[in-house]
Amino acid sequence: MSLSQDDVKRIARLARIEIDDAQAAATQGQLNTIFGLIAAMQAVDTTGVAPMAHAQELSQRLRDDVVSETDRRAAFQAVAPAVEDGLYLVPRVIE
């Protein structure tokens, strides 16, 4: 199977990456080469094989419900693109 240019634009939109038609065309070619490589997977019979999500078969460790963090807003916002009154500023959000 291969990706259409519309597929490329759709996933670029999902991933919030601006892409113009020329880039979409170039990307389409590259991605299809890569998916050609990936296609080797499809021939493998994996019936009954449990998916492996983690390198170790362990269970989640739990943290005690304790407040351990202090206010570091000044340090964190020192590297922020736009802040005011302690808030991060973004272009207006319309709900």
């Binding site: 983690h54 739990l62 943290r63 419900d65 407040v67 351990s68 005011e84 272009p91 207006r92």
Partner: protein, 475 residues
Amino acid sequence: MKWETVIGLEVHTQLATRSKIFSGSSTAFGAAPNTQASAVDIALPGVLPVLNKGAVECAIKFGLAIGATLNRVNIFDRKNYFYPDLPKGYQISQLAQPIVEGGALKIVVDGEEKTVRLTRAHMEEDAGKSLHEDFHGMTGIDLNRAGTPLLEIVSEPDMRSSAEAVAYAKALHTLVTWIGICDGNMMEGSFRVDANVSVRPVGQAEFGTRREIKNLNSFKFLQQAIDYEVRWQIETLEDGGRIEQATVLFDPDSGETRMMRSKEDAHDYRYFPDPDLLPVKLDDAWIARVQDELPELPAAMQARFVEAYGVSAYDAAVLTGSRALADYFEAAAQACGQGKLAANWVMGELSAALNRADLGIEQSPVSAAQLGALINRIHDGTLSGKLAKQVFEGLWEGTGEVDAIIEARGLKQMSDSGELEKIIDEVLAANPKSVEEFRAGKDKAFNALVGQVMRATKGRANPAQVNDLLKAKLG
């Protein structure tokens, strides 16, 4: 055409933990913006989540309380979408293997009991808040709420009216606050309801297309929003229109619902298991430990109240409207040994006074022990019901304990029959007309005489005793 409404609710309850679900930040409400947003909460590069045990225990408690299946292995997934109040660009949630599946909740609407089935409940993290005040045309983002633990509780589409939806939401609210996993504060967003609403012609088996009303933060809005939405959907269909699946917001000012613009393309969340978090495993010993911490649940308590205190099923349901109320009632009932009387006082005089003062049971100026002492004085004949109300007022105003108030105000019921007889004689002497009328067969005259005696004793006479003595004397 007759239409049937179908409603399912998704309720986001903020779990009453001290710290966030994946970081050690405080969850306290109302801090200055972004002062409770740690490196993990603002998703600095390189940070990682570690799961809060307290949040898991809240979810276990809920699962036990609704008789659900607790998945011994449950998994956190990433729900990917971009939004400025979602710092990582994904929300950590549970999709395929949630911690809680199944269970049910009983509701009563118009005296009819109904069971609402629950689909699932899963743990996830809350998002931050977008503040839409004008910052030169920009929106401000506060991430203090980001990472607050949520239990999202999803019902089956089992409700058929807004009244049923409200009853279910209230029962759920009672339960989550009862078992202490949520503070229930709807104004602060601790209990937020999304309603999936559809309509279908009566008799049709398949569901209509649903629209989801987001973020309803009061029972009143829940009712209004559903009622509006149902009317709108029926009108649309009757006008030959179609319902498109959509996410809508309810505007309390206009009383209408409207489409959410920001959700237009939220259709492909690309869920996958979060590689930063391992499967959460629950073992029987842990579940048993949490079970031991669980208080007696409303349904069990209702049955016990009927059994132990002789109250009606209806009263038992009212008294278990919240755990604080139930605890209050039980303490009062135990203090006096008079369950029915205690129930009457709690649901009558006390509730009325609390309502007038806009206070919750937790803030009652009259303690359960005081109310119990008051009821004792009624039971032992010291106080008539009328006098007791005066004592209650004294307790409410904080003027002292029951016996001291009785003493100070001279409210003690007369028990000395000699003194009472003397007063009765005086009343009979002063009202010969009434005596005559009574003897002529007019029962009303007897009541007038009782009233005179009560007035003369300033209400302190025991009405039964007055009756007996009067009858004897007029005999």
